[in-house]
Symmetry: C2
Subunit: 209 residues, 2 copies
């Protein structure tokens, strides 16, 4: 089993945190997106759609999509549970993970991809759209602040993969999308400080090569 | 248990097809998005984020996000299996479902939301961005045509929720995003004709009130 990873993007960081929380280690290869290594024929031969992260199993089976990779890893490394213990909790955590992706990660990533000069190599940029996504992201932060006024973690009483998805987004947003957890969002700030201080979250930050 | 549904959108249609494939029936209430019924205080009291579809359980627990709803329904109605029988297949089907969402549904929906005059009530429209998403969607169709040259269904040998996600997108794209399965895409056409002819898929089409 081998994990193809990339340092700066928030998606593969989710898999790194997930593994670190479980104390699991998998042989990992870094793919440099800015150098276009995901488009190299060698990588495409392994991972036809060129996506990162990708988990290549010993029989050659390729799993892409961070959450699908984590879903498989959860079966290999069940403790601590991060994706639900019964059908209802699994569905609820899936719901919160998806909400973090569609309501938070999508606008925050779009605000980077369509506005930041460094993203011009990755994307046909539409700046006005990107700036509108920044506002959508800020609205989602305010909404999330209200959620976290009533519950300690994104999916409820305990830390799950939904928190991992959200912290990667929030830290990415502060770094490159100019979206910040201000003092006006005390519950989101309390959550971001606590989750951001977890060893698995801190150790998952890689600087770009 | 009660399902809050809406006739025209591709997302809730996935849940209707999923239930029909399983021969399951749940009391359903239609929410008219064009009339803004998802913003009514009565609906917000039940479903705080105003999303449709939503599954409200007998104890008041609310599940949103079509795939999370289906994941829970799969546990209640396990046959026919549509989301995987073991950890690896569950992860693979999750991967394909997510790919259909991010690579197909996202651009096709954006091409509608940012270009179609009828979507102006739902969205701050950026037409150039929408038109670029139409091209991204067309590129995804071509990619999917190659996938379906080698395997009968999206996730491989059998019909799954990934096919349900893709057929809703393809039929939605033809109806409102001006993205079409042309004769130049014979494998995608073969798949769309076959999946589109399934009774559960045909019966899930509701006209808007």
């Amino acid at each position: 089993m081998k994990l193809y990873d990339t340092p700066m993007a928030p998606n593969p960081r989710r898999v790194r945190i997930f593994l670190a929380e479980k104390g699991a280690t998998i042989p990992t290869v870094d793919v440099n997106l800015m150098k276009g290594e995901h488009r190299n024929p060698e990588y495409r031969a392994l991972v036809p759609n060129g996506r990162v992260p990708a988990l290549v199993l010993d029989d050659g089976t390729v799993l892409c999509e961070s959450i699908a990779i984590c879903r498989y890893l959860e079966s290999l490394y069940p403790e601590p549970n991060l994706m639900g213990v019964d059908a209802l909790e699994i569905a609820q955590i899936d719901m919160w993970t998806r909400r973090m992706e569609f309501e938070l990660m999508m606008p925050v990533a779009s605000a980077f991809r369509h506005v930041h000069p460094a993203a011009a190599v990755l994307e046909n940029q539409f700046k006005d759209f990107g700036l509108s996504m920044k506002k959508v992201g800020e609205k989602s932060y305010a909404y999330l602040d209200k959620i976290l006024a009533d519950q300690p973690y994104i999916a409820g009483d305990r830390y799950t993969i939904a928190d991992i998805s959200a912290i990667c987004t929030v830290q990415f947003g502060a770094a490159v999308s100019d979206i910040h957890v201000t003092e006006a969002l005390p519950h989101l700030k309390r959550w971001a400080d606590e989750v951001g201080a977890r060893p698995a979250v801190k150790s998952s930050l890689k600087s770009a090569a």
